[in-house]
Symmetry: C2
Subunit: 231 residues, 2 copies
DNA sequence: ACCTGAACACCGTTCAAGT
DNA sequence: ACCTGAACACCGTTCAAGT
Protein backbone atom coordinates (compact mmCIF):
# COMPACT_ATOMS: atom_id res chain seq x y z
CA UNK A 1 0.00 0.00 0.00
CA UNK A 2 2.72 2.46 0.96
CA UNK A 3 5.40 3.18 -1.62
CA UNK A 4 7.77 0.29 -2.05
CA UNK A 5 10.82 0.66 0.11
CA UNK A 6 13.30 0.58 -2.73
CA UNK A 7 15.17 3.58 -1.43
CA UNK A 8 13.18 5.89 -3.62
CA UNK A 9 15.73 5.68 -6.34
CA UNK A 10 14.78 5.50 -9.99
CA UNK A 11 11.54 5.06 -11.81
CA UNK A 12 10.01 1.63 -11.14
CA UNK A 13 13.34 0.10 -10.15
CA UNK A 14 15.01 0.65 -13.46
CA UNK A 15 18.12 1.18 -11.40
CA UNK A 16 20.50 -1.25 -13.06
CA UNK A 17 23.81 -0.56 -11.34
CA UNK A 18 23.97 2.82 -13.06
CA UNK A 19 26.70 3.73 -15.53
CA UNK A 20 28.62 6.32 -13.57
CA UNK A 21 27.78 7.94 -10.25
CA UNK A 22 28.76 11.37 -11.53
CA UNK A 23 26.54 13.13 -9.01
CA UNK A 24 27.65 16.70 -9.63
CA UNK A 25 27.43 18.92 -12.62
CA UNK A 26 30.71 20.39 -13.81
CA UNK A 27 29.09 23.79 -13.34
CA UNK A 28 29.23 23.41 -9.55
CA UNK A 29 25.50 23.41 -8.80
CA UNK A 30 24.78 20.55 -6.43
CA UNK A 31 22.04 19.23 -8.74
CA UNK A 32 19.11 17.37 -7.30
CA UNK A 33 19.50 14.49 -4.89
CA UNK A 34 17.34 12.54 -2.49
CA UNK A 35 19.18 14.06 0.45
CA UNK A 36 18.64 17.61 -0.73
CA UNK A 37 14.99 16.92 -1.44
CA UNK A 38 14.37 15.46 2.00
CA UNK A 39 16.31 18.17 3.82
CA UNK A 40 14.43 20.89 1.96
CA UNK A 41 11.13 19.17 2.61
CA UNK A 42 11.86 19.25 6.34
CA UNK A 43 12.69 22.95 6.11
CA UNK A 44 9.50 23.63 4.25
CA UNK A 45 7.41 21.62 6.69
CA UNK A 46 8.97 23.42 9.63
CA UNK A 47 8.30 26.77 8.05
CA UNK A 48 4.84 26.26 6.61
CA UNK A 49 3.33 23.29 8.34
CA UNK A 50 1.89 20.12 6.95
CA UNK A 51 -0.35 21.86 4.44
CA UNK A 52 2.50 24.04 3.25
CA UNK A 53 4.33 21.20 1.59
CA UNK A 54 3.42 21.34 -2.07
CA UNK A 55 5.42 19.67 -4.75
CA UNK A 56 5.68 22.88 -6.73
CA UNK A 57 6.85 24.84 -3.73
CA UNK A 58 9.41 22.19 -2.85
CA UNK A 59 10.75 22.24 -6.40
CA UNK A 60 10.96 26.03 -6.33
CA UNK A 61 13.09 25.97 -3.20
CA UNK A 62 15.37 23.49 -4.89
CA UNK A 63 15.64 25.57 -8.02
CA UNK A 64 14.24 22.77 -10.15
CA UNK A 65 11.16 22.03 -12.16
CA UNK A 66 8.34 20.26 -10.36
CA UNK A 67 8.59 17.11 -12.37
CA UNK A 68 12.27 16.69 -11.63
CA UNK A 69 11.30 15.58 -8.17
CA UNK A 70 9.51 12.60 -9.56
CA UNK A 71 12.62 10.96 -10.74
CA UNK A 72 13.95 10.73 -7.20
CA UNK A 73 10.66 10.09 -5.49
CA UNK A 74 7.57 8.10 -6.34
CA UNK A 75 5.04 10.61 -5.04
CA UNK A 76 4.27 13.10 -2.31
CA UNK A 77 3.59 10.33 0.19
CA UNK A 78 7.15 9.21 -0.06
CA UNK A 79 8.38 12.72 0.64
CA UNK A 80 6.39 12.65 3.87
CA UNK A 81 7.77 9.25 4.81
CA UNK A 82 11.35 10.26 4.24
CA UNK A 83 11.03 13.64 5.94
CA UNK A 84 9.46 12.02 8.97
CA UNK A 85 12.09 9.39 9.46
CA UNK A 86 14.88 11.86 8.75
CA UNK A 87 13.85 13.91 11.73
CA UNK A 88 14.23 10.98 14.09
CA UNK A 89 17.84 10.27 13.28
CA UNK A 90 20.07 9.99 16.30
CA UNK A 91 22.53 12.72 17.06
CA UNK A 92 24.47 11.52 20.07
CA UNK A 93 24.71 7.81 20.86
CA UNK A 94 22.30 7.20 23.73
CA UNK A 95 24.37 4.22 24.86
CA UNK A 96 25.37 5.38 28.30
CA UNK A 97 26.58 2.35 30.17
CA UNK A 98 25.14 3.08 33.56
CA UNK A 99 23.06 -0.03 33.97
CA UNK A 100 21.82 1.01 37.38
CA UNK A 101 20.14 4.24 36.33
CA UNK A 102 17.78 2.94 33.69
CA UNK A 103 15.16 5.45 34.66
CA UNK A 104 17.31 8.41 33.79
CA UNK A 105 17.98 6.83 30.41
CA UNK A 106 14.33 6.23 29.68
CA UNK A 107 13.31 9.73 30.67
CA UNK A 108 16.12 11.16 28.59
CA UNK A 109 15.12 9.17 25.53
CA UNK A 110 11.48 10.11 25.82
CA UNK A 111 12.17 13.76 26.40
CA UNK A 112 14.47 13.78 23.41
CA UNK A 113 11.71 12.18 21.39
CA UNK A 114 9.22 14.73 22.55
CA UNK A 115 11.62 17.60 21.93
CA UNK A 116 12.07 16.52 18.34
CA UNK A 117 8.35 16.37 17.78
CA UNK A 118 7.85 19.79 19.28
CA UNK A 119 10.62 21.19 17.13
CA UNK A 120 8.87 19.73 14.08
CA UNK A 121 5.20 19.91 15.01
CA UNK A 122 4.07 18.26 11.80
CA UNK A 123 5.96 15.11 12.76
CA UNK A 124 3.68 14.26 15.67
CA UNK A 125 0.59 14.03 13.52
CA UNK A 126 2.45 12.17 10.80
CA UNK A 127 4.10 9.62 13.03
CA UNK A 128 1.25 7.22 13.76
CA UNK A 129 0.50 6.78 10.07
CA UNK A 130 4.00 5.68 9.13
CA UNK A 131 5.74 4.44 12.22
CA UNK A 132 7.95 1.99 10.44
CA UNK A 133 10.85 4.10 9.31
CA UNK A 134 14.32 2.85 10.16
CA UNK A 135 15.08 5.55 12.71
CA UNK A 136 11.76 5.21 14.48
CA UNK A 137 12.19 1.46 14.71
CA UNK A 138 15.74 2.02 15.94
CA UNK A 139 14.44 4.14 18.76
CA UNK A 140 11.86 1.55 19.72
CA UNK A 141 14.58 -1.08 19.70
CA UNK A 142 16.90 0.92 21.95
CA UNK A 143 14.01 1.64 24.27
CA UNK A 144 13.19 -2.04 24.50
CA UNK A 145 16.79 -2.90 25.26
CA UNK A 146 17.00 -0.39 28.09
CA UNK A 147 13.76 -1.59 29.62
CA UNK A 148 14.86 -5.18 29.24
CA UNK A 149 18.09 -4.47 31.10
CA UNK A 150 16.03 -2.63 33.68
CA UNK A 151 14.22 -5.83 34.51
CA UNK A 152 11.06 -5.64 32.45
CA UNK A 153 10.14 -9.17 31.40
CA UNK A 154 9.50 -9.93 27.75
CA UNK A 155 5.90 -10.72 28.60
CA UNK A 156 5.42 -7.21 29.98
CA UNK A 157 7.47 -5.45 27.38
CA UNK A 158 4.80 -4.62 24.86
CA UNK A 159 2.51 -3.10 27.43
CA UNK A 160 5.41 -1.01 28.69
CA UNK A 161 6.55 0.16 25.28
CA UNK A 162 3.10 0.92 23.98
CA UNK A 163 2.06 2.73 27.14
CA UNK A 164 5.06 5.02 26.93
CA UNK A 165 4.62 5.48 23.20
CA UNK A 166 0.95 6.29 23.56
CA UNK A 167 1.61 8.74 26.31
CA UNK A 168 4.41 10.60 24.55
CA UNK A 169 2.55 10.69 21.26
CA UNK A 170 -0.68 11.89 22.82
CA UNK A 171 1.05 14.53 24.89
CA UNK A 172 2.96 15.90 21.93
CA UNK A 173 0.13 15.87 19.45
CA UNK A 174 -2.10 17.65 21.93
CA UNK A 175 0.48 20.20 22.92
CA UNK A 176 1.51 20.97 19.37
CA UNK A 177 -2.03 21.66 18.25
CA UNK A 178 -3.04 23.57 21.34
CA UNK A 179 -0.05 25.80 20.91
CA UNK A 180 -1.22 26.45 17.39
CA UNK A 181 -4.92 26.94 17.89
CA UNK A 182 -4.40 29.11 20.94
CA UNK A 183 -1.90 31.28 19.15
CA UNK A 184 -4.50 33.98 19.44
CA UNK A 185 -5.07 33.82 23.16
CA UNK A 186 -7.64 36.59 22.92
CA UNK A 187 -10.17 34.37 21.19
CA UNK A 188 -9.32 31.54 23.55
CA UNK A 189 -10.02 33.63 26.62
CA UNK A 190 -13.32 34.83 25.28
CA UNK A 191 -14.35 31.30 24.49
CA UNK A 192 -13.40 30.16 27.95
CA UNK A 193 -15.33 32.75 29.91
CA UNK A 194 -18.41 32.13 27.81
CA UNK A 195 -18.02 28.51 28.85
CA UNK A 196 -17.47 29.01 32.55
CA UNK A 197 -20.96 28.26 33.75
CA UNK A 198 -21.39 25.19 31.61
CA UNK A 199 -18.10 23.61 32.58
CA UNK A 200 -17.47 24.68 36.17
CA UNK A 201 -14.86 22.08 37.02
CA UNK A 202 -12.80 22.77 33.94
CA UNK A 203 -13.05 26.45 34.72
CA UNK A 204 -12.05 25.92 38.35
CA UNK A 205 -8.97 23.88 37.58
CA UNK A 206 -8.10 26.06 34.59
CA UNK A 207 -7.58 22.93 32.55
CA UNK A 208 -7.32 24.76 29.26
CA UNK A 209 -5.20 27.58 30.59
CA UNK A 210 -2.63 25.56 32.44
CA UNK A 211 0.35 25.86 30.14
CA UNK A 212 2.96 24.11 32.23
CA UNK A 213 3.21 21.49 29.53
CA UNK A 214 6.66 20.33 30.49
CA UNK A 215 5.87 19.85 34.14
CA UNK A 216 2.61 18.08 33.39
CA UNK A 217 4.31 15.82 30.89
CA UNK A 218 7.01 14.88 33.35
CA UNK A 219 4.60 14.14 36.20
CA UNK A 220 2.42 11.86 34.13
CA UNK A 221 5.49 10.11 32.84
CA UNK A 222 6.65 9.49 36.39
CA UNK A 223 3.35 7.85 37.21
CA UNK A 224 3.75 5.56 34.24
CA UNK A 225 7.34 4.67 35.10
CA UNK A 226 6.49 4.05 38.74
CA UNK A 227 3.92 1.52 37.63
CA UNK A 228 6.16 -0.37 35.26
CA UNK A 229 6.13 -4.05 36.20
CA UNK A 230 9.75 -5.08 36.77
CA UNK A 231 11.10 -8.37 37.97
CA UNK B 1 -8.47 31.40 12.86
CA UNK B 2 -11.08 28.67 13.01
CA UNK B 3 -14.52 29.43 11.67
CA UNK B 4 -16.54 31.65 13.92
CA UNK B 5 -18.76 29.65 16.24
CA UNK B 6 -22.00 31.17 15.06
CA UNK B 7 -23.64 27.82 14.70
CA UNK B 8 -22.76 27.69 11.07
CA UNK B 9 -26.04 29.25 10.09
CA UNK B 10 -26.25 31.79 7.31
CA UNK B 11 -23.72 33.64 5.26
CA UNK B 12 -21.66 36.01 7.38
CA UNK B 13 -24.24 36.19 10.16
CA UNK B 14 -26.97 37.61 7.99
CA UNK B 15 -29.27 35.58 10.20
CA UNK B 16 -31.77 38.20 11.26
CA UNK B 17 -34.39 36.21 13.14
CA UNK B 18 -35.53 34.67 9.85
CA UNK B 19 -39.00 35.23 8.43
CA UNK B 20 -40.49 31.78 8.83
CA UNK B 21 -38.80 28.54 9.87
CA UNK B 22 -40.51 26.66 7.07
CA UNK B 23 -37.84 23.95 7.02
CA UNK B 24 -39.55 21.54 4.66
CA UNK B 25 -40.59 21.78 1.09
CA UNK B 26 -44.21 21.04 0.35
CA UNK B 27 -42.91 18.35 -2.01
CA UNK B 28 -41.82 16.20 0.96
CA UNK B 29 -38.08 16.14 0.28
CA UNK B 30 -36.30 16.92 3.54
CA UNK B 31 -34.30 19.68 1.82
CA UNK B 32 -30.88 20.56 3.10
CA UNK B 33 -30.16 21.21 6.75
CA UNK B 34 -27.14 21.45 8.99
CA UNK B 35 -28.12 18.22 10.70
CA UNK B 36 -28.41 16.29 7.46
CA UNK B 37 -25.12 17.68 6.24
CA UNK B 38 -23.28 16.72 9.41
CA UNK B 39 -24.84 13.27 9.58
CA UNK B 40 -23.98 12.58 5.97
CA UNK B 41 -20.46 13.86 6.48
CA UNK B 42 -20.00 11.37 9.30
CA UNK B 43 -21.27 8.57 7.07
CA UNK B 44 -18.93 9.59 4.32
CA UNK B 45 -15.97 9.84 6.66
CA UNK B 46 -16.72 6.42 8.10
CA UNK B 47 -16.96 4.92 4.65
CA UNK B 48 -14.10 6.63 2.86
CA UNK B 49 -11.79 8.00 5.51
CA UNK B 50 -10.51 11.47 6.05
CA UNK B 51 -9.38 11.98 2.47
CA UNK B 52 -12.70 10.72 1.16
CA UNK B 53 -14.61 13.73 2.34
CA UNK B 54 -14.90 16.04 -0.63
CA UNK B 55 -17.44 18.78 -0.84
CA UNK B 56 -18.69 17.53 -4.19
CA UNK B 57 -19.07 13.99 -2.93
CA UNK B 58 -20.88 15.18 0.16
CA UNK B 59 -23.28 17.22 -1.96
CA UNK B 60 -23.88 14.24 -4.23
CA UNK B 61 -24.91 12.07 -1.30
CA UNK B 62 -27.29 14.77 -0.22
CA UNK B 63 -28.77 15.12 -3.68
CA UNK B 64 -27.81 18.77 -3.86
CA UNK B 65 -25.45 20.97 -5.79
CA UNK B 66 -22.03 21.52 -4.27
CA UNK B 67 -22.54 25.17 -3.64
CA UNK B 68 -25.72 24.60 -1.69
CA UNK B 69 -23.56 23.38 1.17
CA UNK B 70 -21.97 26.77 1.49
CA UNK B 71 -25.10 28.40 2.67
CA UNK B 72 -25.20 26.19 5.74
CA UNK B 73 -21.49 25.98 6.33
CA UNK B 74 -18.62 28.42 5.98
CA UNK B 75 -16.12 25.96 4.53
CA UNK B 76 -14.82 22.41 4.66
CA UNK B 77 -13.07 23.03 7.97
CA UNK B 78 -16.40 23.65 9.61
CA UNK B 79 -17.74 20.37 8.28
CA UNK B 80 -14.84 18.63 9.99
CA UNK B 81 -15.45 20.49 13.24
CA UNK B 82 -19.13 19.65 13.32
CA UNK B 83 -18.67 16.02 12.30
CA UNK B 84 -16.07 15.54 14.97
CA UNK B 85 -18.10 16.95 17.81
CA UNK B 86 -21.23 15.16 16.63
CA UNK B 87 -19.56 11.83 17.12
CA UNK B 88 -18.84 12.55 20.77
CA UNK B 89 -22.43 13.19 21.77
CA UNK B 90 -23.55 11.25 24.80
CA UNK B 91 -25.94 8.39 24.39
CA UNK B 92 -26.68 7.19 27.91
CA UNK B 93 -26.20 9.53 30.84
CA UNK B 94 -22.98 8.45 32.53
CA UNK B 95 -24.20 9.79 35.85
CA UNK B 96 -24.17 6.62 37.89
CA UNK B 97 -24.35 7.69 41.52
CA UNK B 98 -22.04 5.14 43.04
CA UNK B 99 -19.56 7.47 44.61
CA UNK B 100 -17.45 4.65 45.97
CA UNK B 101 -16.66 3.02 42.67
CA UNK B 102 -15.11 5.97 40.87
CA UNK B 103 -12.62 3.73 39.14
CA UNK B 104 -15.26 1.77 37.33
CA UNK B 105 -16.78 5.03 36.15
CA UNK B 106 -13.50 6.36 34.86
CA UNK B 107 -12.64 3.17 33.04
CA UNK B 108 -16.11 3.06 31.53
CA UNK B 109 -15.88 6.63 30.30
CA UNK B 110 -12.47 6.16 28.78
CA UNK B 111 -13.36 2.91 27.09
CA UNK B 112 -16.47 4.51 25.69
CA UNK B 113 -14.32 7.34 24.41
CA UNK B 114 -11.91 4.92 22.84
CA UNK B 115 -14.69 2.83 21.33
CA UNK B 116 -16.13 5.88 19.60
CA UNK B 117 -12.78 6.78 18.13
CA UNK B 118 -12.22 3.26 16.88
CA UNK B 119 -15.66 3.23 15.34
CA UNK B 120 -14.81 6.47 13.55
CA UNK B 121 -11.08 6.18 12.96
CA UNK B 122 -10.83 9.60 11.37
CA UNK B 123 -11.95 11.19 14.62
CA UNK B 124 -8.80 10.28 16.51
CA UNK B 125 -6.53 12.15 14.16
CA UNK B 126 -8.92 15.08 14.00
CA UNK B 127 -9.47 15.46 17.71
CA UNK B 128 -6.28 17.16 18.83
CA UNK B 129 -6.70 19.92 16.26
CA UNK B 130 -10.15 20.94 17.38
CA UNK B 131 -10.66 19.76 20.91
CA UNK B 132 -13.02 22.50 21.88
CA UNK B 133 -16.36 21.23 20.66
CA UNK B 134 -19.22 21.24 23.16
CA UNK B 135 -19.46 17.48 23.48
CA UNK B 136 -15.73 17.01 23.92
CA UNK B 137 -15.64 19.69 26.58
CA UNK B 138 -18.65 18.08 28.21
CA UNK B 139 -16.79 14.82 28.47
CA UNK B 140 -13.76 16.51 29.98
CA UNK B 141 -16.03 18.23 32.48
CA UNK B 142 -17.73 15.01 33.54
CA UNK B 143 -14.37 13.32 33.82
CA UNK B 144 -13.08 16.09 36.05
CA UNK B 145 -16.14 15.87 38.27
CA UNK B 146 -15.75 12.13 38.76
CA UNK B 147 -12.07 12.47 39.58
CA UNK B 148 -12.81 15.33 41.92
CA UNK B 149 -15.35 13.24 43.81
CA UNK B 150 -12.83 10.43 43.85
CA UNK B 151 -10.50 12.59 45.88
CA UNK B 152 -8.17 14.09 43.31
CA UNK B 153 -7.22 17.56 44.50
CA UNK B 154 -7.68 20.52 42.18
CA UNK B 155 -3.93 21.03 42.16
CA UNK B 156 -3.43 17.53 40.77
CA UNK B 157 -6.40 17.55 38.45
CA UNK B 158 -4.77 18.82 35.29
CA UNK B 159 -1.97 16.30 35.43
CA UNK B 160 -4.56 13.57 35.93
CA UNK B 161 -6.84 14.69 33.13
CA UNK B 162 -4.09 15.34 30.64
CA UNK B 163 -2.33 12.08 31.41
CA UNK B 164 -5.48 10.11 30.76
CA UNK B 165 -6.30 12.17 27.68
CA UNK B 166 -2.81 11.74 26.26
CA UNK B 167 -2.86 8.04 26.87
CA UNK B 168 -6.27 7.41 25.34
CA UNK B 169 -5.57 9.63 22.37
CA UNK B 170 -2.16 8.11 21.70
CA UNK B 171 -3.44 4.58 22.03
CA UNK B 172 -6.33 5.17 19.69
CA UNK B 173 -4.44 7.07 17.05
CA UNK B 174 -1.77 4.41 16.97
CA UNK B 175 -4.18 1.54 16.88
CA UNK B 176 -6.36 3.06 14.22
CA UNK B 177 -3.48 3.65 11.85
CA UNK B 178 -1.78 0.35 12.53
CA UNK B 179 -4.97 -1.43 11.77
CA UNK B 180 -5.05 0.41 8.49
CA UNK B 181 -1.47 0.17 7.37
CA UNK B 182 -1.25 -3.49 8.32
CA UNK B 183 -4.43 -4.31 6.49
CA UNK B 184 -2.20 -6.28 4.20
CA UNK B 185 -0.49 -8.44 6.77
CA UNK B 186 1.52 -10.13 4.04
CA UNK B 187 3.61 -7.06 3.39
CA UNK B 188 3.88 -6.45 7.11
CA UNK B 189 5.25 -9.90 7.77
CA UNK B 190 7.80 -9.64 5.02
CA UNK B 191 8.93 -6.31 6.33
CA UNK B 192 9.27 -7.70 9.79
CA UNK B 193 11.40 -10.70 8.98
CA UNK B 194 13.71 -8.54 6.88
CA UNK B 195 14.10 -6.47 9.99
CA UNK B 196 14.70 -9.22 12.49
CA UNK B 197 18.45 -9.02 12.72
CA UNK B 198 18.54 -5.28 12.98
CA UNK B 199 15.93 -5.03 15.70
CA UNK B 200 16.33 -8.20 17.77
CA UNK B 201 14.45 -7.03 20.85
CA UNK B 202 11.45 -5.85 18.86
CA UNK B 203 11.50 -9.14 17.02
CA UNK B 204 11.77 -11.14 20.25
CA UNK B 205 8.88 -9.45 21.97
CA UNK B 206 6.86 -9.33 18.74
CA UNK B 207 6.09 -5.70 19.42
CA UNK B 208 4.61 -5.06 16.02
CA UNK B 209 2.69 -8.30 15.86
CA UNK B 210 1.08 -8.20 19.26
CA UNK B 211 -2.47 -7.36 18.38
CA UNK B 212 -4.06 -7.62 21.79
CA UNK B 213 -4.85 -3.94 21.62
CA UNK B 214 -7.66 -4.07 24.12
CA UNK B 215 -5.69 -5.92 26.76
CA UNK B 216 -2.67 -3.70 26.31
CA UNK B 217 -4.79 -0.60 26.52
CA UNK B 218 -6.43 -1.74 29.71
CA UNK B 219 -3.19 -2.68 31.43
CA UNK B 220 -1.52 0.63 30.71
CA UNK B 221 -4.63 2.42 31.87
CA UNK B 222 -4.53 0.53 35.15
CA UNK B 223 -0.98 1.65 35.72
CA UNK B 224 -2.03 5.24 35.19
CA UNK B 225 -5.04 4.95 37.49
CA UNK B 226 -3.02 3.23 40.19
CA UNK B 227 -0.64 6.16 40.20
CA UNK B 228 -3.30 8.86 40.43
CA UNK B 229 -2.55 11.10 43.40
CA UNK B 230 -5.66 11.11 45.57
CA UNK B 231 -6.17 12.73 48.93
C1' DA C 1 -34.27 32.37 2.91
C1' DC C 2 -32.32 29.02 0.27
C1' DC C 3 -30.22 26.90 -3.81
C1' DT C 4 -27.51 26.77 -8.28
C1' DG C 5 -23.98 26.54 -12.52
C1' DA C 6 -20.16 28.62 -14.46
C1' DA C 7 -15.68 29.90 -13.63
C1' DC C 8 -11.12 30.57 -11.10
C1' DA C 9 -7.01 29.33 -8.78
C1' DC C 10 -4.53 25.61 -7.36
C1' DC C 11 -2.55 20.97 -6.95
C1' DG C 12 -0.66 16.06 -7.81
C1' DT C 13 0.65 13.43 -11.41
C1' DT C 14 0.99 11.31 -16.54
C1' DC C 15 3.18 11.65 -20.77
C1' DA C 16 6.19 12.37 -24.28
C1' DA C 17 10.34 14.45 -24.81
C1' DG C 18 14.71 16.56 -24.26
C1' DT C 19 20.09 16.15 -22.97
C1' DA D 1 20.85 8.88 -16.03
C1' DC D 2 18.61 12.86 -15.14
C1' DC D 3 15.55 16.81 -16.01
C1' DT D 4 11.62 19.39 -18.23
C1' DG D 5 6.98 21.82 -20.04
C1' DA D 6 2.53 20.99 -21.49
C1' DA D 7 -1.59 18.97 -20.29
C1' DC D 8 -5.16 16.35 -17.46
C1' DA D 9 -8.13 15.36 -13.72
C1' DC D 10 -9.59 17.03 -9.60
C1' DC D 11 -10.80 20.10 -5.73
C1' DG D 12 -12.28 24.17 -2.64
C1' DT D 13 -14.33 28.32 -3.14
C1' DT D 14 -16.02 33.14 -5.35
C1' DC D 15 -19.45 35.27 -7.88
C1' DA D 16 -23.48 36.58 -9.86
C1' DA D 17 -27.82 34.84 -10.24
C1' DG D 18 -32.00 32.37 -9.77
C1' DT D 19 -36.62 31.27 -6.85
Amino acid sequence: MAAKGNGGQGKRSQRIESAAQAGKKPGGEPSLSLERIVATAVELLDAEGIDGLKMRRLADRLGAGVMSLYWHVANKEEVFDLALDAVFAYRAPPQRIEPEDWRRDVVHMLEDWRAIMLRHPWSASLLPRRALGANVLGRLETMSEVLSRAGVADADMNVAIWSLWNYVLGATVTRASFALSHADQAAGQKRLSALSERYPTIERTRLLLDSDWDGTFRKGLDVLLDGLPRG
